[in-house]
């Protein structure tokens, strides 16, 4: 709506109400995670804790291996993110700067992979990973995701937008492809790479079905699967469950706060070019 034509007070009231609605589940989580067990069990439920009570966090860490889950998720998410940046930037360089037979066909093949829903390939992939004895291992969680068509497409667009003259100058200086890639294309494309990094990390961090299928041992669980343990171990103490939830939310909240800008820029580029 063209809000400039509406009274300011109306907009601010609407904004405050909407913020409250959107934030409510998170504020409730924060507030309850600071309550004592007795407080969180009272009905009607209090909205705010009487005193800030940080012991819940220590207790949760003692009850379930939250730190192991966070560690696993970090290892898996960062490994996939770095792997995708490497494979996607290499492929994008080939698509953007190199001439080779079959280029159009291969590029269409890359784009076609975006159409395959994960559910269709999950059963055979599970059987593959199982036959490789990769269940309950990091490689089982990481390797199937090391290539990304979306990322390749995003970086190809980024590379193509780099100033042409620069590469012509480099060529005259006798700069080969490997050096061009490492010392010019990559450093100049850091914003695009950052977008891919944030997007990839959030996706990997939030992965649910695949780790559910391929991990059984508690020590191998990721955050999203491990969080289910709260449900069984501490079903009756909401303050503990929600302080666990809050701990597990922190890394992605932090990343969102830091990475919102590159993410928005990247999504915008993708959505507008549709």
């Amino acid at each position: 709506m063209n809000m400039r034509l509406m009274p300011k007070s109306f907009i601010y009231t609407a904004l405050l109400l909407c913020s409250l609605a959107v934030l409510f589940p998170l504020l409730y989580t924060l507030s309850t995670s600071l309550m004592s067990e007795a407080e969180s069990a009272v009905y009607p439920p209090p909205l705010l804790p009487e005193a800030i009570n940080l012991s819940n966090f220590a207790k949760v860490i003692d009850t379930i291996p939250v730190l192991t889950f966070i560690g696993n998720s970090l290892i898996v998410s960062i490994a996939i993110m770095l792997g995708q940046i490497v494979t996607a930037s290499l492929a994008a360089y080939a698509f953007a700067f190199l001439r080779f037979p079959g280029k159009t066909l291969l590029f269409s093949l890359f784009l076609a992979t975006m159409m395959i829903p994960w559910e269709v390939i999950m059963i055979p992939n599970y059987l593959t990973v199982k036959s490789l004895n990769w269940l309950d291992t990091y490689q089982g969680l990481i390797v199937p995701f090391l290539a990304t068509a979306f990322g390749t497409f995003l970086l190809r667009q980024t590379f193509l937008q780099l100033p042409k003259e620069l590469f012509e100058a480099a060529r005259v200086d006798g700069c080969g492809h490997v050096r061009t890639f490492l010392s010019m294309v990559l450093p100049l494309s850091i914003p695009g790479i950052a977008t891919l990094g944030v997007y990839s990390f959030l996706n990997n961090w939030n992965m649910y079905l695949w780790p559910l299928l391929t991990t059984n041992r508690v020590e191998m669980r990721t955050v999203q699967i491990g969080i289910g343990m709260l449900q069984f171990e501490e079903m009756n103490s909401w303050n503990l469950i929600l302080s666990g939830v809050l701990l597990l939310l922190l890394p992605s909240l932090l990343l969102l706060a830091l990475g919102l800008k590159p993410l928005v820029r990247g999504i915008t580029a993708g959505a507008l070019k549709g």
Binding site: T29, A41, F110, I121, R171
Partner: protein, 327 residues
């Protein structure tokens, strides 16, 4: 795609051969061979660059896609080994089973409940923050926040909010004088509850898309409508909506595909219950393949799901996109 506007780096060999062309024919021939060599080196390099991606896609995308088709024609043992060729029997069994239709209609209901409302909410929030008033940065961050919430954490939070006797939602209802709702255990409410949580969880992403769509509309257009004396509602429906229709279209395609694939919130909140009222297609596939270990039936169902998604996406592009206004 637009492969012709490529900007390719001519290989370093070219400049070399230019220098050498003055010095005799044999040297020129040697240089041609050298140029050819750099050309084939470029091709080798290109394939080497693509090799890692192609290897992963081959092993974990194309091979499993073919294997899904293969598995769907067989009965398998619980280890996933093929036991007996059954032709299209798996597909026949699925199309004859009541559960398949239940899960199909549940999926459609889930899409209807989450996609239009989710997009409408995102448009409202984007419209409210698309201005130059003070403090918009904070509101934009707040409305993007659900993006950090994953399906695991989000479901745990809502499970507690939805608690039938001690949950805060029912407490609020009681303040309004309403009877408590059995959010997750009443078959009439379970799907609505799962949908509500999903809308909230996806709000951040949809909001960012809508806001960036609105920010892409040029300021002049707004100024000219202001001069024309067009009211805010009229401006919105006549001007803003058509201009952000590419974003709207993109968001709806992505949301529909995403809604088809919803699984985590259902597995955590309701496990497909009560009495299958939230049993969507992906949950049904999961049950068949990984709880009952019927990989053949599971693969056949996954292929049916794939076909439905593909048809729907093609439909959206063929018919709906015509109404989209590209600048």
């Amino acid at each position: 795609m637009m492969m012709d506007n490529e900007l390719s780096l001519p290989s370093p060999g070219h400049s070399l051969s230019a220098h050498a062309s003055q010095s005799g024919e044999s040297a020129a021939a040697a240089m041609r061979i050298a140029a050819k060599k750099t050309r084939s080196r470029e091709i080798m390099l290109a394939y080497a660059c693509l090799a890692p991606s192609l290897l992963i896609f081959g092993l974990f995308l194309f091979y499993p896609l073919l294997k899904s088709v293969y598995l769907s024609l067989f009965l398998t043992d619980p280890q996933g080994r093929v036991a007996e060729f059954v032709g299209l029997d798996n597909f026949k069994e699925i199309l004859a089973s009541e559960m398949f239709y239940t899960s199909f209609w549940n999926t459609l209901l889930f899409i209807l409940l989450t996609v239009p409302t989710g997009i409408a909410a995102a448009i409202l929030l984007a419209a409210l923050t698309h201005n130059k008033l003070r403090g918009m940065k904070i509101f934009r961050f707040i409305f993007s926040l659900p993006m950090a919430v994953s399906v695991g954490t989000g479901s745990m939070i809502w499970m507690i909010l939805y608690h039938p006797t001690l949950g805060i939602l029912n407490y609020f209802l009681s303040l309004l004088g309403s009877q408590p709702i059995q959010w997750l255990t009443d078959p009439k409410w379970a799907m609505i509850s799962v949908a509500l949580m999903t809308i909230w969880m996806n709000l951040g992403f949809n909001y960012i898309l809508m806001l960036s769509g609105m920010q892409g509309v040029s300021e002049d257009i707004y100024d000219s409508t202001k001069i024309d004396g067009s009211g805010p509602l009229r401006t919105f429906f006549r001007i803003t909506m058509p201009l952000i229709s590419p974003t709207l279209f993109f968001t709806s395609v992505v949301s529909v595909i995403g809604a088809f694939q919803a699984f985590g919130q259902i597995n955590i909140l309701t496990k497909g219950g009560p009495i299958n009222s939230t049993n969507v297609m992906v949950f049904n596939i999961y049950q068949d393949a990984f709880v009952n270990f019927r990989f053949g039936i599971g693969s056949a169902q996954a292929l049916i799901l794939f076909a439905i998604i593909l048809l729907l996406t093609v439909f959206q592009f063929k018919f709906v996109e015509k109404k989209v206004h590209y600048q």
